[in-house]
Symmetry: C2
């Protein structure tokens, strides 16, 4: 094993490996508890190399959070060929799947934003903004008029969905179909509530 | 002014005054930036006295967050004499009013939970749990069956409402009536989404 650990990697590969080890750490432990010392021991590289790549523990945490964010956003990217409602369901299904497959990653991203690390908060804010934009695109294609309140409603619904996903997908034995269906109904209901305000 | 500052207060009064100064600080600055040094200078008391009362900066922040939490929960306590839907509207009205009157306090509580301070996070979690319980009581009185999903839905709706309140009450010129009406519609729509899942 020692030999494996010391395998020479190109700098980019080494860096990516360190970040991947950091994301793997999130499976059962919170990001804020990850230290440079622990990761350097895990990877069999010097602390100095980690400081060289990431500057500081904060830098490392930020990089891990951004990688976790991209991993979630890629795993849940909308299938452009689907009609809007099918695309919504498909995206929601893949989010539930992602949360169940990578519970620690999702939990760390959603809850890790409370770690006080600015980079982690920003990564979550960006993920939320992307998910909200995807939803806005679906509902606009369905004929909903764009408005300030629609955008507030869908950004707020993303916060709703994060809570509901953490609780339902991680802490209950609800089926994925039940969760997807619930999320779809609530997203549509929240958008309908925006429209009713115009009446 | 110096004379005023040095007015002798009983220890409980002095402590309460320090916490109140801390809550006032939230009007335009985030909790995590509040230092023992700043508050001791503001109050005209020694740093040692602050450490004596609060133990540490974390202890001080926790106490301020709990006071802000209680202040919000008291300001928005349900009027028991009202019928459930009137009580919901009345509570929502008072929440919107509270957010607009004490924007910094609400913002610090909701966003300050990202400061990494465990005490602040706990204060927010407790506030959410109380608000969710108030909502559950309203809908149960309206005849909604209790269920795991109802509780998940309403706890998640509290996160939705926090986001929507921060954005709509602080960043738009929506009237309070419009915000209250939107929040009421979304709460009822989310609960209806729970029921539809049983069909």
């Amino acid at each position: 094993m020692e030999a494996d650990r010391r395998t020479r990697l190109a700098p980019d590969e080494r860096r990516a490996q360190l970040v991947a080890l950091g994301v793997a750490y999130l499976v059962d432990k919170p990001l804020e508890s990850l230290t440079i010392e622990y990761l350097s021991a895990q990877a069999g590289v010097s602390r100095g190399l980690l400081f060289h790549y990431f500057g500081s523990k904060k830098g490392l945490h930020g990089e891990i959070a951004r990688t976790a964010r991209d991993s979630m956003l890629n795993a849940t990217a909308p299938s452009a060929e689907l009609a809007p409602l099918d695309r919504l369901r498909d995206t929601l299904s893949r989010i539930v799947q992602f949360v169940r497959d990578h519970r620690g990653t999702f939990y760390s991203l959603v809850r890790g934003a409370s770690s006080g690390a600015v980079d982690v908060r920003e990564a979550l804010e960006q993920a939320r903004a992307v998910q909200a934009d995807r939803l806005i695109a679906v509902f606009r294609e369905l004929g909903t008029a764009d408005s300030e309140l629609l955008r507030i409603a869908l950004r707020s619904w993303v916060a709703f969905a994060e809570e509901a996903l953490v609780e339902s997908a991680l802490d209950t034995d609800m089926t994925s179909e039940q969760i997807v269906s619930f999320l779809e109904r609530t997203a549509r209901a929240v958008v309908a509530s925006v429209d009713q305000g115009r009446g």
